[in-house]
């Protein structure tokens, strides 16, 4: 009977697992990465922006690679506030930027996995890890859904000195390893729904004012989510658009709206309706984003096990950081694994240094900084309901001020603010928002 034994087994071939795998394979560690999709990226979804700085940590030559895995450099970035009547856009434009790129995961993850294979990482696709093996309170391997051989139909076991869980948001194995208690709650995750849209030829460049070296990444706030706590996004790819909306799962459930209804309503807004006219839907997808933050953070390590990426909940929604944190956490877990292999000790005592690395990193500091943000957003719906409309009204008044006594326009603006939220309310919101980060 064949049995499989590796130094490290990584569960999941997203950016976290692959970053970890690349670092280990480069050091010649006998590593197996198990991915349930047909190929890495085939089951993965995100909004659509990756950052050069983090990719360079694992692929130093990026973006100078043959067969680029990214779509367009992000040269225009900003916010679009949606009111019922129209929009207000805040945009920052760079002439030439290689800092961030729009991307599609089916290509991006496949690129990372190709790169990992070249470094010598062993990747088993189409295989799902169904359980972990616990021996003497230590994780000592995983059990997969596939049989051992054509003759022996029992589920195959893969032994490992260290198991790294990069299993994604559903984190079932993390729970089985005892690193987190029970499933996550609806208010801890955001449901993101996304469409990849194709505009008639030449229209993408025309409507967004782009050439092939330019790309746009916009966050959409306000009416776009029907006033529910959440945001939308619109990113330009090489030939397509990524458009989607993310809403806290609990508010979506309470709203009695179906996810596709939210998307359809958003697309019916006059501004988007015109922008997306004639678009053909190429892909439709949905995914949960873990936003439990520090409060829901699992224990990041145990005897023979570490958790990275989405499974740990390492995202910063405000700054669109998920892939980034996945990559950095994967690298930190790899560094810790190397240390443990050197020592020959895979107990909690050694793997604790993963948590120490984590706490020194900006990821932890950011999570700490943003730890009350989710609660604030959920409890202050005016951010999504009142303010986008208010911003629109103010700018409407400002830009139609010609032919009027300007002091009167300012008074009208103040009256609008008073009517919509009240000066007291606005001041309170500003102070509360400030307190979040102080």
């Amino acid at each position: 009977m064949e049995s499989y034994s590796f130094d490290v087994v990584i569960v999941g071939g997203g950016p976290a697992g692959l970053a970890c795998g690349i670092k280990l394979a480069e050091k010649g560690v006998n590593t197996l990465l198990i991915e349930r999709g047909r190929f890495c990226g085939s089951k993965n979804l995100f909004g659509g922006v990756v950052y050069t700085s983090s990719i360079k940590e694992i692929v130093p030559e990026f973006p100078e690679v043959s067969q680029s895995p990214v779509e367009r450099p992000v040269t225009e970035e900003g916010y679009i506030f949606f009111s019922t009547k129209g929009v207000v856009k805040f945009f920052h434009t760079k002439s030439d930027s290689q800092e961030a790129f729009t991307a599609l995961r089916a290509r991006f993850d496949a690129f990372l996995s190709e790169y990992a294979l070249k470094k010598g990482l062993l990747i088993a696709p189409k295989t799902k890890v169904v359980d972990i093996i616990l021996e003497n309170f230590k994780v000592s391997g995983v059990i997969v859904d596939r049989p051992r051989s054509f003759k022996d139909l029992r589920p195959a076991e893969v032994k490992a000195k260290i198991v790294i869980l990069a299993e994604g948001v559903n984190r079932l194995l993390t729970e089985k390893a005892g690193l987190v208690k029970g499933p996550f709650k609806p208010e801890e995750v955001v449901l993101a729904i996304k469409e990849v849209l194709q505009l008639p030829k030449g229209e993408l460049e025309k409507r967004f004012g782009l050439n092939e070296k330019k790309g746009l990444a916009a966050e959409l706030i306000g009416e776009i989510t029907s006033g529910l706590p959440g945001t939308g996004f619109l990113y330009t790819n090489t030939n397509t658009l990524s458009f989607g909306i993310g809403i806290f799962l609990n508010t979506l459930v309470n709203s009695n709206l179906k996810p596709y209804e939210i998307l359809e309503r958003a697309k019916a807004h006059p501004y988007l309706h015109e922008l997306l006219d004639g678009a053909e839907i190429l892909e439709y997808g949905a995914h949960l984003i873990p936003e439990w933050g520090l409060q829901g953070l699992p224990k990041l390590y145990g005897n023979g096990v570490m958790v990275v990426g989405d499974a740990a909940g390492l995202v910063n929604p405000l700054f669109r950081e998920g892939t980034n944190l996945a990559i950095y956490s994967g690298i930190m877990a790899a560094e810790t694994a190397l240390e443990a292999l050197e020592k020959g000790d895979f107990s909690e005592k050694t793997l604790k240094s993963y948590e120490e690395r984590f706490k020194e990193s900006y990821i932890y500091k950011d999570l700490l900084l943003f730890k009350n943000l989710k609660k604030f957003l959920l409890n202050n719906r005016q951010i999504f309901e009142t303010y986008p409309n208010l911003i629109y009204e103010i700018f409407s008044l400002y830009f139609s001020a010609q032919g009027q006594y300007k002091k009167e326009v300012v008074r009208e603006i103040i009256r609008t603010i008073k009517r919509k939220r009240g000066l007291f309310g606005v001041l309170k919101d500003i102070i509360n928002l400030g307190r979040l980060f102080w």
């Binding site: 499989y4 088993a124 295989t127 596939r146 054509f150 022996d152 195959a156």
Partner: protein, 271 residues
């Protein structure tokens, strides 16, 4: 012991494919490549037969270098040997040149240990010709049985196979002497849930590369574009012509409409 040869083709996943309306050509950009689904049936059958009778599976394909991925996947079905025919000189081959190239390769492979079964998909989903399997059989001078839906029995001692074949009129049950070349219909075998052992073997495998100048000795003028009398002039989607008549019930009475429908059906001799 059964010595099985499977011939496969890597094709674009046509469930995802779209046609550029301006040029009439397939948009291949971003479309993932898969093993032709009928060839997956052939591989699945080979997998079952090997597990039942023992023996070995050799898989060949001709295509560009990235067709190695199709062969690596074929390893998952328990293949013992995978061979990729790839060379600029093979490129542009029609079914005539392809069947010549494959047949010569198979002759080379079975110099010492002849195959009992040659398995082909009934057709490739990108070309739909269904000519390569029979073409290879003719060159190998072995019987060909197309559109096979079921293997009823194989008697290795008597070297006899009994199988079902789909025809337009029904099912033919055929008894044949091995070796035979069969082309597989989709019901012939279900994809096995392959074990981890084979997944890992597949990951670590690399195909043997056969080129135009070796190890098989080919006649150059029969290869690739040179050996292909077929030339593609145009690819297009045939338009479905439907003559639709619409009767508005707000202006025409239901009795009148029914009479009209009956009249048309009588005219077309349907009733």
């Amino acid at each position: 012991m059964l010595n099985i040869l499977v011939s496969i083709k890597q094709v674009p996943d046509t469930t995802n494919i779209r046609i550029n309306p301006e040029t009439g050509t397939l948009i291949r950009e971003g479309v993932p490549s898969i093993i032709n689904p009928y060839d997956v049936v052939a591989l699945s059958l080979a997998c079952y037969l090997k597990n039942q009778f023992g023996g070995s599976i050799t898989v060949i394909t001709m295509g560009p270098p990235q067709a190695r991925l199709a062969l690596k996947e074929a390893m998952e079905f328990g293949a013992d040997r995978i061979i990729l025919l790839t060379d600029r000189k093979f490129a542009g081959a029609d079914t005539l040149a392809t069947s010549y190239t494959l047949a010569e390769t198979i002759k080379y492979l079975e110099r010492e240990n002849p195959f009992h079964l040659y398995l082909f998909g009934k057709q490739a989903i990108d070309g739909d010709t269904a000519q390569v399997g029979p073409g290879v059989a003719a060159r190998l001078k072995v019987p060909v049985i197309t559109y096979v839906t079921k293997i009823e029995n194989i008697d290795l001692k008597e070297k006899i196979i009994i199988l079902h074949r789909k025809t337009e009129k029904g099912v033919e049950i055929i008894k044949a002497k091995l070796p035979v070349l069969i082309t597989c219909e989709k019901d012939l075998a279900k994809s096995p849930f392959v074990p981890l052992s084979e997944i890992l073997k597949a990951v670590k495998s690399e195909p043997e590369i056969f080129a135009a100048d070796g190890p098989v000795k080919f006649e150059r003028e029969k290869l690739g574009l040179k050996g292909s009398p077929t030339q593609v002039k145009k690819v297009f989607t045939p338009e479905l012509k439907k003559d639709t008549l619409i009767y508005d019930l707000s202006t025409t009475s239901i009795d009148e409409v029914v009479m009209k429908i009956i009249h048309i059906l009588e005219e077309k001799k349907i009733i």
